[in-house]
Amino acid sequence: MRTLHTLYHLTRADFFERFRRYSFLVVLAITVGAGYLFVPPEGAGYLVLHVGLRRGIYNSAWIGLVFGFIAAMHLPLFGFYLVKNALERDRQTGVGQIIATTPISKPVYVVGKWLSNLAVLTLILGVLTVMAVIMQLVRAEDLTINPWALVGPIWLMGLPALAIAAAMAVLFESVSFLRGSLGNVAFLFIWLSMMGRVLSGAFDEATHLAQPTNDLLGFTRAMADIQQQVLALEPDAHMGSGLIVPVGDGEVSTFVWDGIGWSVGSVLGRAMWSGMAVVIPLASAIPFDRFDPARSRQRLKREGLLTRLQKRMGAIRRRDVLRRQCAETRVIQAATAVHLTPLALAPQRGQFLGVLVAELKLMLRGHSLIWYAGTVGLILACLVIPLQYVKQYLLPMVWLWPVLIWSQLGIRERRYNTGQMVFSAPHPVTRQLPATWLAAVFFTVVAGSGACVRLALTGEITGLLAWFVGALFAPALALALGVWVGNSRAFEIVYLLLWYLGVMNQVPAFDYAGVTPAGLAMNIPLVYLGLTAGMVVLAVIGRRRQLQM
């Protein structure tokens, strides 16, 4: 009973802390906006959920299903990034160390955080549900509200997926190497590959008919149900389906769909997924360090390989290894008068290069040896491997590798609380901010120099120029989002989706790096060059705003 009481208050406090933030209002506003877009009117130019370009009329069953699909397939992805800060907040505010001194156990703490994550995501699901009702009334194709047909799919499909995402967020925060940007990138790949697996395994290749199973998303059961109803109306109908597709006027036909026939077994199947989600936070309690700074410091030492090497070399030079270790335990000297020599040379203007070098050094500190070796390996591999393999396999890697560098842009001062010192130095907007961006551009060019040289040698000058546009664009996007949003997650989501669509799947409109002939032919890199300028301007405005608060 006492455990439940603790759990309740832990969840409640954490939920209120997040719910009362201004940024959460923005999230709810985005949810409302997205809910509106999920039910497009005739002539909108796109369709959400179709089977052979047929959609159900906008009755409770169809709108519930559309929202259910969105809630199960897309909301968990964004939800993960939204709630993956519950432990981090306690770590940064120092509340974690206070909690660590209380009798609360690690499993109770992490389960409380999971419940709080789930409460936040459930609230968003609730807002989506209300929007579903509103959109049915707005589109007015069928004004009869059937509560179960509307709410059933949204909650039975969405809630288990959200429970898993909320639990994964706790797990990723508990495992030290998944806590930062690496974890954010890893989750995107995990989720996309899981969705790909569900979708690819759902359909029979010859007939395109879905095979109903109890998958996490609840996708196959719903899709099989729709296909059966469409086939009953039109036995020769094409069964190809999609969630969001562009359509022309008059291409879409409608039919009346009655909804999924939820059996007790299928409802239990959905509940089973929610129950399984509990296992994940309980497992998270094992790697969770209970805010022990000593364990963080050990990690810091492991990460700071260059620093350790420098230290070692310095110690050998001074032949004074012991002195290196005794700073904390030194004999306290008597406090004496202290004198500081006046600075002979006044600070100078126009030290941009110095700031650029300093930003570059700061950017490259603190990574593991594997990361440095990987960067060098990538450059060398691009130089020696046949060009077709470079384009096929290494170029996507070149555009992914610097994500950990880019994701620091614009947020470092807030993350490490150095803003007051950095921003009170001269020219924080006209010198430090551009230096940060250009340092990241420089690193991007260096990391991709192998591929660059290959493109130049084969005379692909247009591709090379487009490549440079990408090298300007990605850091500019990171800087703008970092300055305005204040964390790296927004950039990581936006950029990785861009990368997935543009570089991996070669969709011309998203080809910011000039990797597709179609994108080059359509002058897409020029669009991204314009966007780069826009992002830099946005970053400058954002930084000025930070200084005027």
């Binding site: 963080s296 410091r297 810091l300 030492k301 990460e303 700071g304 620093t307 420098q310 230290k311 310095g314 110690a315 002195r323 290196r324 005794c326 700073a327 904390e328 306290i332 000297q333 008597a334 406090a335 004496t336 008068a337 202290v338 004198h339 500081l340 020599t341 006046p342 600075l343 002979a344 040379l345 600070p347 100078q348 203007r349 030290q351 110095g354 700031v355 070098v357 300093a358 050094k361 700061l362 500190r365 603190g366 470092r412 490490y416 609380n417 150095t418 803003g419 007051q420 010192m421 950095v422 921003f423 009170s424 130095a425 001269p426 020219h427 924080p428 010198r431 200084l547 005027q548 608060m549």
Partner: protein, 298 residues
């Protein structure tokens, strides 16, 4: 060298005033800003450090409005915030090199300055260790060092001795004394002894308003004949605390020795004693709050 704070106000969200109509003129010397938590000290310092802009009023540095041309002041500014962080993967030298680059210090001058500063703040031996492994006091000393990198004409230090051990506190006070002279130093603290040791002027601030601004001697003069040493039975301590402003008390074998700030002697056996800045601080703050030691209070 002249810093003028002219009718500055700062209104935060939720209509909370951080500062209200605050005016002060400063010339070279050490000004100690004292006041209780939430008095507006940090707000004032952030405005002076060009981090925040005032809602009303203006601050000029040698005649230039720092809101309009902040970089002119930033070039000669050293600022130690009350609450700050460091980059955990850098060591002290690398962090100071980074800050020196931002402040526009040329490489060689920066290297020499950093080495001297590391000796001054007693971190030379620990200079190669990542800052993430530093204790709170060591990080505070890194903060002090970065504030002094450019030999600032205006040095603003917000609670600089927080987290320092007694020896380092004394060392820092000595450093401040050494620095005072051809620069303006603004020191925010609620440790009155720090103010007493280093300040040439003291400003008492509360509720976002300036209560008093004078040299320490003038503040002490204002309390001449208003501070009393009084020995009372321990059973009367609670009642005395309710009636008078007590600046300190100590239990002894003959009773409790209380230090009372009061216009008139609290009892015939109370003896007048020399006031301290701590007495003066309590006196002015209590006067502003209107909660003063009962019938004989200020």
């Amino acid at each position: 060298m002249r810093l003028v704070i002219d009718a500055v106000s700062k209104l935060y969200r939720g209509r909370v005033w951080g500062l209200r109509d605050f005016s002060l003129e400063l010339e070279p010397g050490v000004l100690a800003l004292v006041g209780p938590n939430g008095a507006g000290k940090s707000t004032l310092m952030r405005i002076l450090a060009t981090i925040t802009k005032p809602t009303a009023g203006r601050v000029t540095w040698n005649g230039t409005d720092i809101s309009r041309s902040p970089d002119q002041l930033r070039a000669v500014l050293g600022y130690l915030p009350q609450d700050f962080g460091v980059y955990p993967n850098l060591n002290a030298v690398e962090f100071l090199q980074y800050m020196a680059a931002l402040k526009g210090l040329p490489g060689r001058a920066a290297r020499q300055r950093i080495e001297e500063l590391l000796h001054v703040v007693n971190l030379f031996e620990a200079r190669d260790r990542p800052l993430g492994g530093y204790s709170g006091g060591m990080k505070q000393r890194v903060g002090i060092a970065q504030a002094l990198l450019n030999d600032p004409q205006l040095l603003i230090v917000d609670e600089p001795t927080a987290g320092l051990d007694p020896e380092e506190r004394v060392r820092f006070r000595n450093l401040l004394s050494d620095l005072a002279g051809e620069r303006i130093v603004i020191l925010s603290t609620h440790i009155v002894s720090d103010a007493e040791a280093a300040a040439t002027e003291i400003a008492v601030i509360n509720g976002g308003q300036l209560l008093e601004h004078a040299e320490p001697e003038r503040l002490l003069q204002a309390l001449e004949g208003k501070v009393w040493q009084w020995v009372i039975p321990s059973t009367e301590l609670t009642a005395v605390k309710e009636r008078y402003l007590i600046s300190s008390s100590a239990r002894r074998s003959d009773g409790v020795h209380v230090r009372v700030v009061s216009e008139a002697p609290p009892a015939p056996n109370a003896q007048a004693v020399a006031p301290t800045l701590e007495d003066a601080y309590l006196y002015f703050i209590s006067s502003a709050n209107g909660s003063t030691g009962g019938e004989n209070g200020p």
